[in-house]
């Protein structure tokens, strides 16, 4: 639980399975943890509630964050992470179905590191996830000034 390298926050089981399949194909699935809503994501990141035993220093190398989530949505999760000095350096990739300009603008305003519109075409999606996963994971040390 403490050596999670990729946190995937996704409520849609289909999208989740696709994402995991993509990561698996790229051999990145070993240290993936899944949170099914915004609340769980925040508990995981901030080591609260059901993840109270986690140590905050053991932050994930990258968070793949869906925008629309039950309870607490992706933008709020992003805001909380980027608003806390302990977590603001964690790279966050926003995954979204929406091409809404407003979401994009708000995400970048909150300090998102990257933004992927999930295409209907599955192959493109997997490709994007793999590319991003590699990119962030290969940078051992997350950039402090990222965002």
């Amino acid at each position: 639980m403490n050596n999670v390298e990729i946190l995937v926050v996704e409520d849609n089981p289909c999208d989740l399975e696709m994402t995991l399949r993509g990561l698996n194909t790229a051999r990145l699935a070993n240290h993936v943890h899944v949170a099914r809503d915004g609340e769980e994501a925040l508990e995981f990141i901030f080591c609260e509630g059901r993840y109270a035993e986690r140590r905050i220093e053991m932050a994930p190398k990258v968070v793949l964050l869906d925008l629309k989530l039950p309870k607490i949505d992706g933008l709020e999760v992003l805001a909380r992470m980027k608003g806390d000095p302990r977590t603001q350096a964690i790279p966050v990739v926003m995954l979204t179905s929406s091409q809404e300009q407003v979401d994009l603008v708000r995400s970048y305003a909150l300090g998102v590191n990257s933004y992927i519109v999930k295409p209907v075409n599955f192959e493109s999606f997997v490709k994007a996830v793999q590319d991003l996963g590699f990119y962030w994971l290969l940078l051992n040390q997350p950039p402090a000034a990222a965002g």
Binding site: C14, D15, M18, E100, P119, V120, F122
Partner: protein, 652 residues
């Protein structure tokens, strides 16, 4: 011819010759100081019988010489007159009964002084039956001097008369004109002779003639001064107004000797007066017919207010009886003014007076019949020398107008409330729509991704186990899912256009076209397309939106020329319109009206792919720029799309 001398025995002898009773008066005449009585016997030799003693004083010569030479008197005559007098006397003496002798001449006395003499003679028969010549030489020097002075005076008056601008005339006591000054003659252009008597009346305007004649006749009859206005015809036919005045000149006895008069040109004055009167009438008419009470209010130096003009309307406006206004008008009017407005009015009138600024106020009065009324007052103060202030202005009853205004205001308020309510409803609808499209954009795509993704997984993981037909079906499923994804994207883009705000600025159109062609480069890959770009003026537009227009039109052109071996796409500007023309598939113009509707297509998907949203987007963007789009096409002859941009955004 003068003779005689006192102390001459014969002259004495002459005197007693008459009857005793006659002697004294005759002597008195004979010895009057200014007269010289003379008596001559013409024959048989000319001899002086008697000459008054005054001869010596008048002639300055002793009379004795006359008795010696009866023509001695001639030597005293002024050399200039002498021969003339002698000739006249000689002529008379030759036939004294038939001829007359009456002459005036000058005498030069030895001391050099001159006297004027009037001499006349008669033939008489003496007591003895003989013919005698007798006469009186009178010293008329003083009379001549008076006459000269009179002539001089007359000349002076005439010159004065003729230098006047007035026409001067004179008539006999009976009204018969006997003098018309040269100005009169010059003005009328008719010789004076034709105008003497009553002839001048012909120069009076026919309409004025009877009245002038009557006035003149009655003045003459009653002997009273005459004054009348008339039009006199000038030499060039122009009638001008004159004021004629005449006065009788009376002798000491009271009888009229003459009439004198002048006629003065008052035409300019009369015209000016008439114009002034017309102005006054016009102003009075305007004041009378104006719905406002036009008035002049005066405040005297000691603070008394009067209405100098328009009092009647002023009083009517206030419902004040004219009788109440006597004295200080202000009290009567102030009593009508609403007590709440009175202090403000007094203060503002006072300020207008002090600063000379226009006075404009609306205030309430209590009209005895009409109730509370709103009055609008406008006036302009003028300071008069002496400390008075005069306001010229109007009072208008604006009660109805104010009521109408307040009705309009409440209607406006109501309307605004309604607009606000509608706007709120609309905003709610827009928000719902936004929420809807937001959720469409997220939630409708997720299942499509699953359909596409898992079909792919099946094909990949279990492909070999599936019959070929099964694999083909799965591919159809994937294609359909992707098409639906495209439809959703296009639909969302289209619906976003209505909400997006427009930021217009001048944009280099050629650059937009080049950017669009760059974006569409993949469509030209492996093809030969002749793209011609003409001169394009800058566009006042939202560049992001217009780029979309060019992309859509150009991608259509590229798409529908796909089957042409020599594809040609032409971009240009014609009049106010930009256009994109291609030599592609074209279409039948009878379907042109459907072209710009969402999801309307004129080609089957297996001919040319597409969702039917592109041209709808073009139309919406162009319309949001206040412009219009149109198309010209024919099947297999290509199509040309034209659009122009307008000045302002139209909502639609």
């Amino acid at each position: 011819m003068a003779f005689g001398s006192r102390g001459d025995p014969e002259s004495r002898a002459f005197a007693p010759a008459g009857p005793t009773g006659n002697v004294l008066p005759l002597l008195q005449v004979a010895e009057a100081p200014r007269h010289v009585l003379w008596v001559i016997d013409p024959s048989p030799t000319e001899r002086v019988v008697y000459v008054s003693p005054s001869f010596e004083r008048i002639w300055g010569r002793p009379p004795g010489a006359l008795y010696a030479d009866p023509r001695e008197w001639v030597t005293g005559i002024h050399p200039d007159d002498r021969e003339h007098v002698r000739a006249a006397y000689d002529h008379w003496v030759q036939a004294p009964r038939e001829r007359t002798y009456d002459i005036e001449f000058r005498v030069v006395r030895p001391d050099g002084t001159e006297r004027w003499i009037h001499d006349s003679g008669h033939a008489v028969v003496s007591a003895s039956g003989a013919l005698q010549l007798t006469g009186i030489a009178e010293d008329i020097t003083d009379r001549r001097r008076d006459e000269d002075a009179l002539r001089e005076q007359q000349r002076y008056f005439r010159e004065m008369t003729e230098s006047l601008t007035q026409l001067v005339w004179a008539t006999r006591p009976d009204g018969h004109a006997d003098y018309l000054s040269p100005q009169w003659v010059q003005y009328t252009g008719v010789p004076a002779e034709q105008q003497y008597g009553d002839g001048w009346l012909m120069q009076v305007h026919p309409d004025d003639r009877p009245a002038v004649a009557v006035a003149w006749r009655s003045a003459v009859r009653d002997g009273v001064p005459y004054a009348v206005e008339m039009r006199l015809r000038r030499h060039d036919g122009v009638d001008r107004w004159f004021m004629a005045r005449g006065c009788p000149l009376r002798a000491i006895s009271g009888e009229i000797r003459h009439w004198y008069g002048t006629s003065t040109d008052i035409d300019d004055l009369k015209r000016a007066n008439a114009e002034l009167q017309r102005e006054r009438d016009r102003f009075a008419m305007v004041a009378k017919t104006s719905p406002s009470a036009v008035h002049t209010l005066r405040r005297s130096a000691d603070g008394v207010y009067t209405v100098d003009f328009g009092l009647e309307r002023f009083a009517e406006m206030y419902g004040v009886d004219l009788a109440e206004v006597e004295g200080n008008a202000l009290l009567a009017f102030a009593a009508r003014i609403h007590p709440d407005d009175l202090p403000m009015l007094s203060e503002s009138v006072e300020r207008s007076r002090r600063e000379g600024t226009p006075w404009r106020r609306e205030y309430r009065i209590r009209h005895p019949e009409r109730g509370e009324r709103w009055i609008e007052a406008h006036s302009m103060p003028v300071q008069e020398p002496g400390g008075a202030t005069v306001w010229h202005g109007t009072l208008t009853d604006v009660t109805e107008r104010r009521e109408a205004e307040s009705r309009i205001r409440s209607l406006n308020a109501e309307l605004e409330a309604r607009v606000a309510a509608r706007t709120a409803e609309l905003q709610t609808a827009v928000q719902e729509l936004e929420a809807f499209s937001y959720s469409v954009s997220h939630d409708l795509r997720a299942p499509l991704r699953a359909i596409d993704g898992f079909s792919q997984v099946v094909l990949k993981d279990f492909g070999p186990q599936l019959p070929e037909t099964g694999q083909r079906y799965l591919n159809i499923i994937r294609d359909s899912a992707q098409k639906m994804g495209q439809l959703i994207d296009d639909l969302l883009a289209f619906s976003r256009l209505g909400r997006q705000s427009l930021t217009r600025r001048p944009v280099d159109t050629s650059m937009l076209v080049r950017e669009a062609l760059d974006t569409l480069a993949p469509m030209r890959q492996g093809r030969v397309v002749d793209v011609r770009i003409g001169e394009l003026p800058p566009s006042d537009c939202d560049p992001a939106m217009l780029r979309q227009v060019w992309i859509n039109l150009l991608s259509n052109a590229l798409k529908y020329t796909r089957n042409r071996t020599e594809a040609c796409v032409e971009v240009g500007f014609d009049g106010p319109e930009f256009y994109v023309r291609d030599n592609g598939a074209g279409f039948d113009m009878k379907y042109a009206h459907k072209l710009f509707h969402v999801f309307e297509r004129l080609h089957r998907v297996d001919e040319f792919e597409g969702t039917g949203v592109g041209l709808a987007i073009v139309q919406r963007i162009v319309e949001r720029h206040g412009g219009a789009v149109r198309v010209e096409a024919a099947p297999d002859q290509g199509a040309a799309f034209y659009f122009r941009l307008g000045e302002a955004e139209t909502v639609g």
